[in-house]
Amino acid sequence: MTLDYGTAIALLCLGLYCVMTKTDLIKIVIGINIMESAILLFLVRLAAAPGDRAPIYPAESNVPPAIVFADPIPQALSLTQIVINAAITAIMLSFVVKLYQSYRTIDLAEIRRIQH
């Protein structure tokens, strides 16, 4: 188990721990962001073997056949995922601001207490 896959697993578990135990809504949003970034790290790590080049042809027209490119498909998936992460974060933060306007607190324990 190399360090990069281990870091992806550690970040996923750290984000999940943050979502499960914290009662502060902004900390929960931060935890979800860390989980999403861990998945992105894993996807991009799948695409790169040692000795690869980035999947963009050099400017010369005749490409020497010795260049091996990195895999472009996980990189394209990661690109879409980054923009979707931004959209998800925007909607979550909008909910946090609206909850603050309704309950005047962003502590989950306090909100549950007010509701019941």
């Binding site: 990069d4 970040l11 970034s37 990189q75 933060l93 005047r104």
Partner: protein, 81 residues
């Protein structure tokens, strides 16, 4: 992809994520998250994925941090008048 560069970047990533989870002050946690996104972008560039690195840099360090800062400023409970 040198091992020393990649390993040090990964350890820095873990440390900044730990700080982002640990800080109680919202502003400090959001800034730690911005550092996390920026080092993730550098790591993507080292992994030979320049498109993904560019996208993560503009979204994570630019727009995502701006949205977080708006939310932090709109949810502050103690305002000094």
């Amino acid at each position: 992809m040198e091992a020393a560069l990649t390993n040090s970047l990964l350890i820095f990533l873990l440390i900044s994520a730990l700080f982002a989870v640990h800080f109680r002050d919202h502003l400090s946690a959001v800034l730690a998250l911005s550092v996390f996104s920026t080092s993730m972008s550098v790591l993507f560039a080292v992994y030979q994925a320049p498109d993904v690195a560019l996208a993560e840099a503009v979204v994570g360090a630019g727009l995502g941090t701006a949205l977080f800062l708006i939310a932090v400023s709109r949810t502050r409970s103690k305002r000094s008048d």
